[in-house]
Amino acid sequence: MSEVKQFEPFQMDVLKEVGNIGAGHAATALSKLLDKPIDMRVPTVRIVSFEEISDCLGGAEEIVVAVFLRAEGEAPGNLFLFFTIDSARRLLRQMAGLTAGGEEGFTEMELSALQEIGNILAGSYLTSLSELTRMTLTPSVPSLAIDMAGAILGYGVMEYGASGDHALLIDTSFLNGTEETAGRFFYIPDPTSFEAIFEALGVPTP
């Protein structure tokens, strides 16, 4: 059980669809917030070693803006919304007309706006998963960090530490316009949650 490296291709496809539905609803929510169309990329399901995990975000020392929510319930897991510093500033400008004063750092108001954006998007991601699977998934209060990708992801995959050296990430980017990545969702179900997810979606588990 829960050895993610051994998942079958059809199980990976199901997880991809989970990302598609979750991020799709989140993109719709963002689109309403910004009052403009938001596109998303096809989700990727990555099984990555702890060594390489930070490469997904440009390296362990890359500074990223992260909003984190813990999903509690029948299939607990971690949900992250990542922005680059630039994409976070762009989003703040578009949504609230907030223009960052200095080169470095964000004001308290900008930080709480980002946290609230994260809350709304992650909330709609989880709500749609909850509806899809008919499982109870309750999001925690969102928490925000602007820090090294390695430090944040290391925390995010902690639950996988007991069972191996690989973690499974459902990664979906959404776009500002047609090309530019506005932000990324990483949904990281706990390794013990896959059985429940597959069962709820009627996917046979070997």
Binding site: E51, G59, I146, D147, G150, G154, A162
Partner: protein
Amino acid sequence: MTVSPLVKVGMADLNTAVGEGAIRTTGLGSCVGVTLYDPVIKVAGMAHVMLPSSSIAREGALNLAKFADTALPELLARMDCLGAQRTRLVAKMAGGAQMFQFGKQTETMRIGPRNIEACRGILGTYGIPIVAEDTGGNYGRTIELDCATGKLSVRSAQNGSRDL
């Protein structure tokens, strides 16, 4: 002897270096970076510990570097092979942050402090003194140990650089 200038240690990984150059690990969050150093023969070791105890491990082949209680004995054994003397070893430690703050703290969220406590305890049982540490807080760190001097430089996004 040729010495590689920079030895990298990944997450849940450990390594050693001798003589010159440096040994580094990047992006420590709740993980703890422990370094051991024998100043006489300039043997350096570093572990990037992710979890406090191997008792929770459900995997077949254990990655010793991942858990405090297995990583430190393994690192010591490797340093013994390189001629390090236990009585001369000094330890330094960094990391163990709480990356995210919540009203309700569960045990998982407290993983940083628990990692620090575990490493301290194990170093204590071996009688290895912790001569410097930069632990806790809510931010990530990158650390680099200079093999020639035993100096540990700690860098963070928010607080810049400091030497231990």
